[in-house]
Amino acid sequence: MAAEAVAVSIRKVGKRFGNVAALDDVSLDIRRGEFFSLLGPSGCGKTTLLRSIGGFEAPTEGDILIEGRSVLHLAPYERPTNMIFQHLALFPHLGVRENVGFGLRMKGADRAASARRVEEALRLVRLEDYGERRVDQLSGGQRQRVAMARALVNDPAVLLLDEPLGALDLQLRLQMQEELRRLQRQLGATFVFVTHDQGEAMAMSDRIAVMNAGRLQQVGTPAEIYERPANRFVATFVGHANMIEARLTGRAAEGLAEAEGPAGLRLRGIAPPHGATDGGVLAVLRYEKLRILPHGADGEGIGATVVEKTYMGSSLRFACRTGAGATMTADTPNAMPQRDIGEGDMVRLAWSPEDVVLLTD
């Protein structure tokens, strides 16, 4: 990657609180103009990393570069970043317009120019008629937008977002996701977005960094993270998958490998990258990549019995036991012909080798 395309460079960053490592040897590059998400369970270090970029935490190891310059020695008010806080942190003693203009005022920007930019920012988040309001007179979604305008008006090199949508109900949340994405595209700005919600990360991000226990697990596009999880943690944290403990039995063409699961289940899947020729592997098969077919269908796949059928609205979930005794789960759209399959029915299960990922860890 060309150096000038990197907005934020995290280099071997560590952060220790006593004996506990909140961040452990984290290195990654965030590209300019990218919507980048830090995804992980609570306590995984994603917020600590974000706050380290903003200057609110001091890493104990490593370096952080923004636009090629180390920022570790800079206070938050000297950094070219702006943050949208988890609970927004709008100033309750100031009106909407004063909130949005706060950053420009602190930097002593020209009054007339500031006023113009504030109006522009309000227009950007569709709040042009709300400048005179007090913050406590706004709805949840409007407050979100004020927070966005307040940060974006300063034209930051990087916008940091610390789970700002966490407190919203589902409908509003989806709406704000769209709004954020629209803003990011429109401005071509670099967004670093912290979330514990994998769906949110997938829907919004150009790339995602999955974190756990202070360590980086995988960095990639949503599709890479989902389709080719790098390890067991990513495979479990993102989406739902059949996880089958298996043994590698041989390599096949086109990056595939053969493995044998419990009860003699034979699996073919994408080989682990680091050439583990023999030994234990984990076969990962997403629920919806496992096809479930009525018994009468042609000879494709293996025979199984439906143990449990769960109705989930738009989809159906079937837990099945194969003839050899292995349990596998399949998600299908709530439609024909699967709709008519019931508990206790004989079915056939089929999948493509390209949808099975064999992991060594």
Binding site: G54, F56, A75, P76, Y77, T81, N82, M83, F85, Q86, H87, A89, L90, F91, P92, H93, F102, G103, R105, M106, K107, R150, A151, N154
Partner: protein
Amino acid sequence: MSAAAPRARDPYRWWRTGLFLYTGLFLTFLYLPLIVILLLSFNDSTSTGFPLQGATTKWYAQVLDSADLIAAFANSLAVGATAAVISTSLALLLALGFRHGVRGQSLVLNLILLPVLLPGIVGGIVLLIFFGYMEIRSDLWTTVLVAHVNYVLPFAFLTLYPRVHGFDRTLEEAAMDLGATPLKVFRHVVWPMLMPAVVATALFAFTLSFDEFIRTVFVSGHDRTIPVLFWLLVVDEIAPHLPAMAVVIILVSTALSLAAFAIGRRADRST
């Protein structure tokens, strides 16, 4: 529904009547003395007491004419305002400092609040001995002011600390994130948001100082505050305008306390 439907008996009827009577007695007990004072302040008689002889406002005129009273009032206002400003400033600094977590913080906190439990008479004697030992002459701007700040400070801290402590730190982070240096963070965010609480605390501190008697009587020397003057009037001479003075003071104190309360409530809403 049939007309003969039995009326449900209210099982709490007697309980309610009892509570009503009790509340009436309670309020009478609280407010009767005040009402008596109010009546006596208009009583046209040189001896304070019943029976009432007729209505007059001459005692109020006399109160407003009394040089002693005006001097004492000025003293009380001046020393009260000064004590309020000093104790509130000290309490604010202390509360701001405490947010950063000091070693042994809870011990210090308790030590600050302990003097609240000290009986006023003990406080007065201790101060008298202390000033005597230090050879400081009793006077409004030395001994009285020190005594008042000493007395008011724990209360001021007690009032202000929860509001400062509850201040949302992410607001400061947000300000800093938007380019405000620590000094600007204080000026543009912390101070405007805490100001109602600070003003309420200062008013509260003022009323405490304004009412303070026991400590003051020990250390006031020739300078009289309102409570000290009252006491001297009662002890030394017949003062038919005393009830009128009391009414004036009650009005001033109540107005200030209500203002403090109202501003304090606004401070709670805004944080």
